[in-house]
């Protein structure tokens, strides 16, 4: 494929950012979750 | 005792801010020399008379924006130092009046600053000004100083007292004032006739500056009270 670096780079940057954001969010959630009682978690 | 109305608050705050300036002379002793220095630094960096003449308008407004950051921070440092804003709020003063008072005081300082910058540009960068150009330039300075006064007071009030305000204010303010930089620069270039620009081309940009000032005058007077009300 011509210009493969640019094209794969775009896909990698896009998916990579999404995965990193998701991972950071879930990790932070897990950290605080144990300190919060289930009654405060409105979504449960 | 009845609460003072909006007009009285406005003139009291305006006069107070200008009096503080007259007594402390921060503008004349520190900001104006800084702005002049920036204009000289531009000349060192660009090092070409033709280029300087061509870009004089842009340099004047860049210097204005950077100096305005200092003036705005100074304008709110005097308020947050003794919790003066808190006292005004507790007293139940009309905060829209405070907003307009501070904004116009700021605008007046910016007009003085721009006057000095324009004279510096005429001397150092050898730009010429004709009669119609002068009228255009004066209107342009009045409109953009008012617009910058409104936006500066709004964001200055928000960042006053916040940690890291020195770095937060430019981040918030500079994107918002981009239209002022574009419009005022084009109008000033038209007034200086740099790059063969016609004076008449500048008036549309002055119109944009007036719209900007009107939008943020209304928006600012609505938002300022809730923003500093804590």
């Amino acid at each position: 494929m011509k210009d493969a670096g640019f094209i794969f780079g775009s896909y990698a940057a896009t998916l990579g950012s999404i995965l990193v954001f998701a991972w950071v969010t879930l990790r932070r959630a897990k950290k605080s979750s144990s300190q919060v009682s289930d009654s405060d978690k409105t979504w449960l | 005792m009845s609460r003072p109305n909006k007009g009285k608050v406005f003139s009291a705050v305006l006069i107070k801010d200008l009096r503080i300036e007259l007594r402390s002379r921060v503008l004349t002793n520190q900001v104006l020399p800084f702005a002049g220095l920036v204009m000289i630094m531009f000349a060192f960096a660009l090092d070409n008379d033709d280029v300087l003449q061509r870009v004089a308008g842009g340099l004047i407004w860049l210097a204005t924006l950077f100096s305005s950051l200092i003036i705005i921070q100074r304008s709110f440092a005097v308020e947050s130092a003794d919790h003066a804003l808190d006292s005004l709020r507790v007293a139940g003063i009309d905060l829209a009046g405070v907003f307009f008072g501070k904004a116009i005081a700021l605008a007046i300082k910016l007009i003085v600053l721009d006057f000095v910058l324009i004279v510096t540009a005429m001397l150092l960068y050898r730009v010429d000004l004709t009669g119609p150009g002068l009228v255009l330039l004066v209107t342009c300075v009045l409109c953009s100083a008012t617009g910058l006064g409104f936006v500066g007071t709004l964001y200055g009030g928000l960042t006053a007292g916040a940690k890291g305000r020195e770095t937060l204010l430019p981040l918030l303010l500079l994107p918002v004032v981009a239209p002022v930089l574009i419009a005022a620069t084009r109008a000033t270039e038209a007034a200086f006739a740099s790059g063969g620009a016609q004076t008449s081309e500048g008036w549309a940009w002055v119109g944009l500056l007036a719209i900007f000032a009107a939008v943020f005058g209304v928006g600012g007077s609505l938002a300022f009270g809730p923003l500093i009300d804590e």
């Binding site: 210009d3 896909y11 954001f21 959630a29 405060d40 | 419009a183 938002a223």
Partner: protein, 248 residues
């Protein structure tokens, strides 16, 4: 990947797990179809493949900022000042800023291939860049010290001021560019002939990115609530300590 839909995640529910799975399936399809199945474009060649991630990112970025503004206005107007609106606004802005960064990055890579330049002073690009910086400022304001109520009020007003600012920036850049017709912007995107599979892939991209957006916002919003609860608990504990001290 399985970690992301982990049933033990603190902010996950049945709904987010279904949403997450759907998002993963659609995104996998977009990647495979965008990179392998779709043909190259007559004008743009292979670089058209970047469009399958660029266009949906841009769509999500703008959607995020519209939702932030709507949620901020709802917080301000609502009598109860429900903090849910504030957290939604904040979560949506964070995810939006990320997608805006992706949009600018993939856009400039595409531009390098098609225009030969990473950047053009085109009104759409310039406004997008200003929107990005403006919302970075918004997120900085959210991080200022203060109570949750203060944060909500400040940031709601900031979001609404951005709604004033962005049209002014866009308008001034449009007339700035139209007066200074320098290099004519080569704009091949107008000539693209999309076949059915290309259109379908682009459409799936929009759907997939929207699913990802809502999955991220839901989790981020709930995480914000958790952090708020932990922080306010810390404050309550400190107040209780002081009370006990004063009582002695």
């Amino acid at each position: 990947m399985s970690r992301l839909i982990n049933s033990k995640s603190a902010t996950g529910t049945q709904a987010t797990r279904v949403l997450g799975l759907l998002a993963i399936v659609v995104m996998l399809w977009v990647v495979v179809s965008g990179l392998v199945f779709t043909p190259q474009d007559v004008v743009q060649g292979e670089s058209v493949r970047i469009m399958y991630v660029h266009v949906p990112s841009a769509w999500i970025a703008y959607l995020a900022f519209i939702l932030t503004a709507v949620a901020s206005a709802s917080w301000l107007i609502g009598k109860k000042h429900s903090m849910g609106f504030d957290r939604f606004a904040g979560a949506s802005a964070e995810v939006g800023v990320m997608f805006m960064a992706i949009t600018l990055l993939t856009g400039s890579l595409w531009g390098r291939l098609t225009w030969g330049e990473f950047w053009q002073w085109d009104p759409r690009l310039t406004t997008t860049a200003f929107l990005f910086v403006t919302y970075l400022g918004y997120l900085a304001v959210r991080r200022l010290d203060g109570s949750a109520e203060q944060r909500a009020r400040r940031s709601a007003i900031m979001a609404l001021l951005a709604v004033l600012e962005i049209p002014l920036v866009h308008f001034s850049v449009v007339i700035w560019r139209s007066l200074h017709q320098g290099a004519t912007v080569l704009n091949p995107s107008g000539d693209v002939k999309l076949d059915d599979l290309m259109l379908f892939t682009l459409f799936s991209g929009v759907v997939g990115f929207t699913l990802v957006f809502f999955w991220l916002v839901l989790h981020r919003q709930r995480t914000m609530l958790l952090v708020d609860v932990v922080n306010s608990r810390g404050l309550d504990a400190a107040i209780a300590d002081r009370r006990a001290e004063a009582g002695n």
